[in-house]
Symmetry: C2
Subunit: 281 residues, 2 copies
């Protein structure tokens, strides 16, 4: 899935496609698949500070009526939760056994201050992130049956909450903003690269939830695991370190002249992990 | 594929999904599949008199690089032809052998006079259609190898031309408008139903191309075949019989109080065919 949106005048548009076996598991509840498809698109709007106007949806049916009914129920639930109308869409029928594929377009109104991009960070800016990081990664492990953890972790993976209110409040205050979809380190490095800057990240500052600490711990390895897992859908933004912030967020790093991403913690510099995030095929 | 678009303020939005084996044939050239996906969405905008602002695209790749490259080439060609920017999109990789699935969202600006709907026909209005009808249906038979006809028929099936200019010119003059995607009779009956009226259609007036006449003929059966084939992507509209029309179109019928669709020709009333059009699964 892309984590960026197009800006067209005062409109923000995003289109994501998800496929069974790639972006969701065959045994994921269909209600949650629908929820997540909508939520990740709304997260793209949130990163632009946009107010959702509606969504259009394309879905491929494969003849499993119970699954399809669950998907529709989940779709109704998520649209109601975030007060977003379904403007239109299309269905196709695929042969039984074909992977399920869904596409969603979300359209929103940009904030009056203009939609922030990922490329506007300034040297000296702090890097902030909303919420906690790494929960969805552990939720995925729970869905795959390889981890026993708190239900909140599974919910973070299956029913992410797009940070619409925070994005709208922050849009006029930040120099750059994007959502964290492919891993904190990977997305932070993308913001630095797009802004023509270097970014250094304090691993000790990466916000971990109590459920994450309980399931994994808070060692450097655990911090790295959280910061390289995908599917967080928090907002990552650059702002002056002393800017008054209209939404809760944690400062986790700093931008400076140069390029690339570097890590440190209380023990000093930390080596970069082999991969900075999670990329779907 | 749906043939309708959502109107949101001064915006018109449409999303169509197409799947291999359902909306296109496995042996259709990938350049043409891309062309048609864009063209049918632009046709939905044309029916609203809208000016395209851009498209967002979702495509599933299946590992066949030559096919994918052809698809991208066709996409570039059709966007250039109709001067429409690609605003964004997403790709997913599916296992080899999975049916190819594509989704497209098109967004346009509604005309100053407002976007016509399909429900505004008035008793006494004439029903008009642009261009010729039935060519794409014969083109499909050619693609399937069951008909030997003129290349223009195959082109009508594989590379339909959305009637954007005509739609923009007509929008302020018509009482109702839609595009003909599932068959002239089926779409005309939908307009009548949406408008709470009856419609009668003169089969002799259904415009057939020279290539159609040469490949099939112009008997009542041939007229019915043309009027029930899909994929025409012409504009169907209701207007006063004596309205000055800013685009070329043929009057083919009349709206009256009542409900349902009826057919006639020079020999008198004609029975309705068993099916009025072509519906994809």
């Amino acid at each position: 899935m892309t984590d960026d949106a197009a800006v067209l005048g005062d409109l923000v548009l995003t289109h994501d496609m998800i496929a069974e076996g790639v972006h969701f598991l065959t045994n994921d509840p269909p209600e949650d698949v629908a929820w997540k498809l909508v939520a990740v698109n709304l997260s793209d709007l949130a990163a632009k500070g946009a107010t959702p106007l509606g969504v259009l949806m394309g879905y491929a049916l494969t003849g499993d009526r119970a699954w399809d009914a669950g998907f529709v129920a989940g779709l109704e639930a998520v649209l109601k939760q975030f007060d977003v109308p379904l403007l239109g869409g299309d269905t196709v029928s695929l042969p039984a056994g074909a992977p399920r594929v869904f596409g969603l377009t979300a359209i929103g109104r940009a904030p009056a201050s203009g939609a922030p991009s990922r490329s506007g960070a300034q040297a000296g800016d702090a890097l902030f992130v909303t919420g906690t990081i790494g929960d969805a990664g552990l939720g995925l492990a729970m869905a795959q049956g390889t981890l026993d953890g708190d239900a909140s972790l599974l919910a973070a993976y299956r029913r992410p909450v797009p940070r619409l209110v925070e994005g709208q409040a922050l849009a006029g205050q930040v120099h750059a903003m994007m959502d964290v979809s492919d891993g904190l380190l990977l997305d932070a490095s993308r913001m630095a690269e797009a802004s023509g800057l270097a970014v250094s990240i304090d691993l000790d500052a990466v916000p971990l939830s109590p459920a994450f600490r309980q399931a994994k711990g808070e060692s450097r390895a655990d911090q790295i695991k959280a910061a390289t897992a995908g599917d967080d859908y928090q907002l990552l933004f650059a702002a002056a370190p002393d800017a008054p912030l209209p939404a809760l967020a944690t400062p986790i790093g700093r931008f400076a002249a140069g390029s690339g991403i570097s890590l440190f913690d209380a023990d000093g510099p930390a080596p970069l992990p082999e991969r900075l995030g999670y990329l779907h095929a």
